[in-house]
Symmetry: C2
Subunit: 113 residues, 2 copies
């Protein structure tokens, strides 16, 4: 599959067309975070081998780890059946979450309400 196969126009329309990217630890298979990519972010990720997203809060390209040092070295990228979500397997330097937790998914929801 190539970048042209990715459905960047399928979900978000503004300020740029984004798709969700699930980020999984290559070794442990722990799910670390979900971020968003536009075509440029995916192109940069493939070119550099380091995960690059689109920051919805700052409206700019976001090289994960550029300020924290917590880079993600990409080992594989897969597209889903509908071509509107991607899965990255990464080697995570440091932690994925800005709170200092290893994964962003550290808040359990009670299964009985």
């Amino acid at each position: 599959m190539r970048i042209d196969d990715v459905g960047f126009d399928s979900i978000f329309k503004a300020p740029t067309t984004l798709i969700p990217a699930i980020v999984q630890d290559f070794t442990t298979h722990e799910v670390l975070m979900l971020a968003y990519m536009n075509r440029e972010a995916l192109t940069q990720t493939i070119k550099t081998g380091r995960a690059t997203y689109w920051s919805r809060s700052r409206n700019e390209l976001w090289i994960k780890g550029a300020t924290s040092g917590h880079f993600q070295d990409v080992q594989s990228i897969s597209l889903d059946c509908d071509s509107d979500t991607i899965l990255l397997q990464v080697i995570q330097t440091g932690v994925a979450c800005h709170t200092g937790e290893h994964t962003c998914f550290h808040k359990p929801i009670d299964l009985k309400e």
Copy 2:
């Protein structure tokens, strides 16, 4: 965490407020699919123990497996740091993908363009 902690107003506005739900195999930790939930879908998921999503194509609640028999029994639900994405760990009956593949993420993207 409880349903009131989930940021259903954060991403999608129409036809209902949706958040992405990453679905992971409880045993193998394989990432199976990404779907979307509104508050009702999450409430039903918690109440029934079976993964229920919002179908963006049919604009209705979607009990995964209702037609295929490929139910997902939910073992855990976690909310991410920003409260706008959830992670489900499930026991998958049959396969997750409508194509017959075990996971929806079966299309590798070349790491060199």
